[in-house]
């Protein structure tokens, strides 16, 4: 009996060690590029571009030179503004289309509601890399080339399907008796929706807002296709294309720009990730 116990506890210790090793490796793999961005962004060029130096140490004092170039020598603030503007407009369009559609699929569309919902969701699988060529013709016809409104027009094509699906799931989780009770008391459905359903759906609407914003901030293909002047770029194309002049890469500023724009977005995104996952896996998990 003591022998069995010992082997069990030693097995537990081995399991624990394996667990910590796995966690350490995955954390390193995932987070290392960001650590390296952070170090690069504040290192002097003479320190950075010296193969003899240990790249993880500041052999010379840190510098804000790269950040100054980023904020003063490039339209970085403008790109942030553009990204925010496009994101906001996309959020508005997405909410206007996806919230009512989600409600309609969850409550009003009876037999065909779920099928239509799945069909809408599947359009999320049609990638920008398949649509950018025909859409470039559409954008050209509308004279929206090199214009942020081209992105505002096109980004809802991937936010609406996904957010409609999320909202449908969200409305389904609210008991229908709530509105029916209000309607028995003489409310119209729209009034019930406004006064009863929407107030308790704030969490769902907030989730959809975050995702529409995050997805439009991450987008690269359409922005690259439709926008070429520096002043109209978003961060996702501005940082990796404008800080390279000929063969010269401004690595310090590049990493600074990537870090400054990626980390806040990542924080916001990861706070809502569980709902995102729940939306994607609805159906496979029951």
């Amino acid at each position: 009996m003591p022998v069995a116990l010992r082997s069990r506890s030693s097995r537990k210790i081995i399991g624990r060690i394996a667990l910590y090793l796995a966690v350490a490796w995955f954390t390193f793999y995932a987070a290392f590029p960001f650590v390296w961005m952070l170090i690069t962004a504040f290192k002097r060029n003479s320190d950075l571009y010296n193969v003899k130096n240990n790249p993880f140490l500041f052999n010379q004092p840190p510098t804000l030179e790269h950040m100054r170039l980023l904020f003063e020598g490039t339209p970085f603030l403008r790109w942030l503004w553009n990204t925010g503007f496009v994101g906001l407009m996309v959020v508005i369009i997405t909410l206007v289309a996806a919230v009512p559609a989600g409600y309609s699929l969850a409550r009003l569309a009876r037999a065909w509601g779920r099928r239509l919902g799945i069909a809408i969701f599947l359009t999320y699988l049609v990638p920008p890399t398949l649509l950018f060529i025909p859409l470039s013709r559409v954008v050209a016809e509308l004279r929206l080339q090199d214009n942020l409104w081209a992105l505002v027009l096109v980004y809802p094509t991937f936010t609406i399907p996904f957010c409609t699906w999320l909202m449908m799931g969200f409305f389904k989780s609210i008991p229908g008796e709530l509105e029916e009770a209000a309607m028995v008391d003489g409310c119209t459905r729209l009034a019930a929706l406004r006064h009863i359903v929407l107030p308790i759906s704030v969490a769902g609407i907030l989730t959809v807002t975050i995702f529409a914003f995050a997805l439009s901030m991450q987008e690269f293909t359409y922005a690259l296709t439709f926008i070429s002047p520096s002043s109209q770029k978003t961060v996702s194309i501005g940082v990796p294309t404008d800080l390279i002049r000929g063969d010269v890469f401004y690595w310090g500023s590049l990493m600074g720009g990537a870090l400054v724009s990626a980390v806040p977005a990542a924080i916001l995104y990861s706070l809502f990730l569980d709902r995102f996952i729940a939306g994607l896996t609805a159906g496979a998990l029951k």
Binding site: A22, V23, F26, A30, A31, P33, W36, M37, L48, N54, P55, I93, V96, P100, A101, S104, L105, L108, I118, L122, T123, L125, T129, L130, I133, P134, R137, V138, L153, T157, E180, V184, R189, A214, Q218, E219, F220, T221, T225, V235, S236, I237, V239, P240, L254, A258, S261, A262, A266, I267, Y269, S270, L273, I277, A278, L280, T281, G283, A284, L285
Partner: protein, 309 residues
């Protein structure tokens, strides 16, 4: 008495409600459906039409030319490389992602100190815009100051005189691109699988433990079979995201060296937008459709099997 009246009036509302509900339902769905029809379904059909036409960016010609663009695409060796790469990148990265995703999900299911911080750090790659992540990796694989090489030397995997040019040779650039795809998608797959793991009742596993099933026995005979639908979903999304992605390749290698790392999307961009041959570009992109169709059908089957629609 009051109760009956309520039930009566309820019925009246329901009866009057059905027609107005139908009208309202259609009305509320209309904006989303319109958007999708006009800007997804329409352009998708237009892409297919472009691929059998002779359209270019400058001119407004749109004549039917049959399968000429597809034939021309297949004759190009760059296209054939791009087609092969798209599959290689997707299949290799997704195999690694399934393994990493399962390992990480199993690890994150345990309780340990700092778990929430670890979870946040691991999710960073997934939440970061692809182009910004790719530029970070490009710097890590730099030809002169690669920090990856420095670390590999520090742990003596590389000798002091070795200096692999990660993005300079096809045989190294391909694993480099795959490493970025794995990095980007494994957090997502881990979180999805973790969601599946937490939905498995603990009693099932405890019962197996009591019956003497070891870790690997439980893993292969209980956990993985029960997780199969959710793993399929994770793999499907990972596949679609990797298969259709252009940012990673475009930023990391721009298709180089010697056009050896192009994928369908980056080659379609090069041909259709940069060179302005819309029809040819559309034909290249349309080669993605069969895989996307398979993914959509599989997803549909999973969804309908689970809910019986």
């Amino acid at each position: 008495m009051a109760k009956i009246a309520t039930a009566e009036s309820y019925k009246v509302i329901r009866r009057g409600g059905i027609t107005s509900d139908r009208w309202l339902g259609t009305f509320m769905l209309a904006p989303a459906i319109l958007y999708i029809v006009l800007l997804v379904a329409g352009p998708l059909l237009f892409a297919i039409y472009l691929s059998v036409s002779n359209a270019t960016t400058g001119e407004y010609t749109l004549e039917y030319v049959g399968l000429a663009n597809f034939v021309r695409a297949l004759q190009s060796s760059i296209f054939r490389t791009a087609l092969a790469n798209t599959f290689i990148f997707t299949i290799v990265s997704q195999i690694i992602v399934i393994i990493f995703g399962n390992m990480l999900a199993l690890a994150l299911q345990e309780r340990f100190r700092g778990r929430s911080i670890v979870r946040f750090l691991i999710l960073l790659p997934w939440a970061t815009p692809v182009s910004l992540a790719a530029i970070g990796w490009k710097w890590m694989y730099d030809s002169l100051y690669s920090v990856v090489n420095w670390m590999l030397k520090a742990v003596h995997i590389l000798g002091p005189t070795d200096f692999p040019q990660w993005l300079g040779f096809p045989s190294l650039a391909i694993p480099a691109v795959i490493s970025v795809h794995v990095w980007r998608t494994f957090p997502f797959s881990a979180v999805v699988i973790l969601a599946g793991l937490t939905s498995i009742p603990q009693e099932t596993l405890d019962a197996a433990s009591v019956d003497g099933a070891g870790f690997f026995h439980r893993l292969f005979y209980i956990l993985l079979p029960m997780l199969l639908p959710i793993i399929t979903v994770a793999v499907l999304f990972g596949t679609v995201f990797t298969f259709t992605d252009m940012g990673a390749v475009y930023i990391l290698t721009a298709g180089g060296p010697f056009n050896s790392t192009h994928v369908l999307s980056s080659w379609a961009f090069q041909v259709g937008i940069v060179a302005g041959d819309l029809a040819q570009g559309a034909a290249v992109a349309v080669f993605m459709l069969p895989v996307l169709l398979v993914a959509a059908i599989t997803m549909l089957r999973i969804a309908s099997r689970e809910t019986g629609v």
